[in-house]
Structure formats: structure tokens, C-alpha cells
């Protein structure tokens, strides 16, 4: 499809397990963002990739969280040793650096840690 694709759409994991969340941005978009949204809350910035520049990791809440973006396209957010407070919807967005700068969001991955 033409939009931002995230997988899985839902993930239930046991406390202490590692999880990987995937984001396929819109082709050609150089910027990619990960956000976390707890139930009924706002968008918590996690990490930002822009082209070949070093990513802005300033929003990652702990060293259990990491992300990579391979070949300037697909991104994976990894959470190690998951905790119950990690339960949230993880949203990915991509945009062009130029033009309208509109950020296109995926549907998100709902992570539940039990």
C-alpha cells in the first residue's frame, strides 16, 4: 500500500520478554519517527531518523529501548526485558524533509505486557 505500515497490529507478551515492532515508511520519505501513546494520553516522542544523519534518541525512556533503520527505509523498535509500564500503542510516522512536512502515521502497534 501507499501508507505507513506497522506490524504486528497487536502484540501480547510476557513480562521480561523482548519484542520487536516493525515500521515500513512511505517510499522516499527520509524522516521517520517513533512515538508512544498510552491509553488516552498524548504522543510521547521516542526516536527520530532523518536520512543518513545520526538518529535523535533523546526520547527513549531507558536503555531497554533501541531502534534501527536499515537502508534508510524499514525501521525496527526493540524493547528488551519488557515491563508492564511498556504497555501502550507504538506509532510510527514518516515524512519528506521538504514540501509540506506532513507526517503520515501508521495505525500503530498495541503492545500489552502481561
Amino acid at each position: 500500500g501507499a501508507g505507513v505500515s506497522q506490524s504486528p497490529s497487536n502484540k501480547v507478551t510476557e513480562k521480561g520478554k523482548d519484542v520487536e515492532l516493525r515500521c515500513d515508511p512511505i517510499s522516499g520519505h527520509t524522516a521517520l519517527y517513533w512515538y508512544r501513546q498510552s491509553l488516552g494520553q498524548g504522543l510521547e516522542f521516542l526516536i527520530y531518523f532523518q536520512g543518513n544523519s545520526a538518529p535523535d534518541k533523546s526520547g527513549l525512556p531507558s536503555d531497554r529501548f533501541s531502534a534501527e533503520r536499515t537502508g534508510g527505509s524499514v525501521s525496527t523498535l526493540t524493547i528488551q526485558r519488557t515491563q508492564q509500564e511498556d504497555s501502550a500503542v507504538y506509532l510510527c510516522a514518516s515524512s519528506l524533509r521538504q514540501a509540506s512536512n506532513e507526517a503520515f502515521f501508521g495505525q500503530g502497534t498495541r503492545l500489552t505486557v502481561v
Partner: protein, 112 residues
């Protein structure tokens, strides 16, 4: 300096009324100010956006008012409808490559 402050946190409006959501920013390097609308279970989607060279932008029932000197901007929804019930996020962006900064969101409920 990177924050965008949004208010109110929640808003209840009668059908046909005007919904007003306000945002303020600090970093004068921001040069693009979008508003996003999010329905339950969906990702946010761009609703309307403005650049600081204009003071107002209108698209249908949605209007952004921008005050550059006060570093404030607001979203006005005229003739609010129950279908407008959603969470609205303001944001600020710098086309020089800085990340987009989002406000905390406003949950709007329009009563029929």
C-alpha cells in the same frame, strides 16, 4: 525551548458550537504548524497546517489563527458536529530538519 503547550486537555461542545483549542511554542525556529486529528484506534492524520507568514488559514469549518509575536496558534472548529469528536494535536516543525514536536492533545466531545 522545544515544548509545545496545548490547552485545554479536554473540551465538551454542543453541536453547532465553536470548538477552540490553543497552543503556544517557544522556539522561533519553528516554521510549520500542523494540526492532527486522531480517532480511536487510528493513527493521527493531518487536518490543517499553517506557515508563519500568514495569520489565518481556513479550510471548510476548520480555521487556524496564528499570532507570530505571541508565539501562539489556535484551531477553531465552526459548527462543530458529533463526527468531529476526536483527539486533536497541535505540532510545530522546523524544515531545517528538527523533529516535529507535538502538543499533549485535546480530547474533543461534541454533544448531539
Amino acid at each position: 525551548q522545544q515544548q509545545v503547550k496545548q490547552s485545554p486537555q479536554s473540551l465538551i461542545v454542543q453541536k453547532g458550537g465553536i470548538s477552540i483549542i490553543n497552543c503556544a511554542y517557544e522556539n522561533t525556529a519553528f516554521d510549520y504548524f500542523p494540526w492532527y486529528q486522531q480517532f480511536p484506534g487510528k493513527g493521527p492524520a493531518l487536518l490543517i497546517a499553517i506557515r508563519p507568514d500568514v495569520s489565518e488559514k481556513k479550510e471548510g469549518r476548520f480555521t487556524i489563527s496564528f499570532n507570530k509575536s505571541a508565539k501562539q496558534f489556535s484551531l477553531h472548529i465552526m459548527d462543530s458536529q458529533p463526527g468531529d469528536s476526536a483527539t486533536y494535536f497541535c505540532a510545530a516543525h522546523n524544515t531545517g530538519g528538527f523533529k516535529t514536536i507535538f502538543g499533549a492533545g485535546t480530547r474533543l466531545f461534541v454533544k448531539a
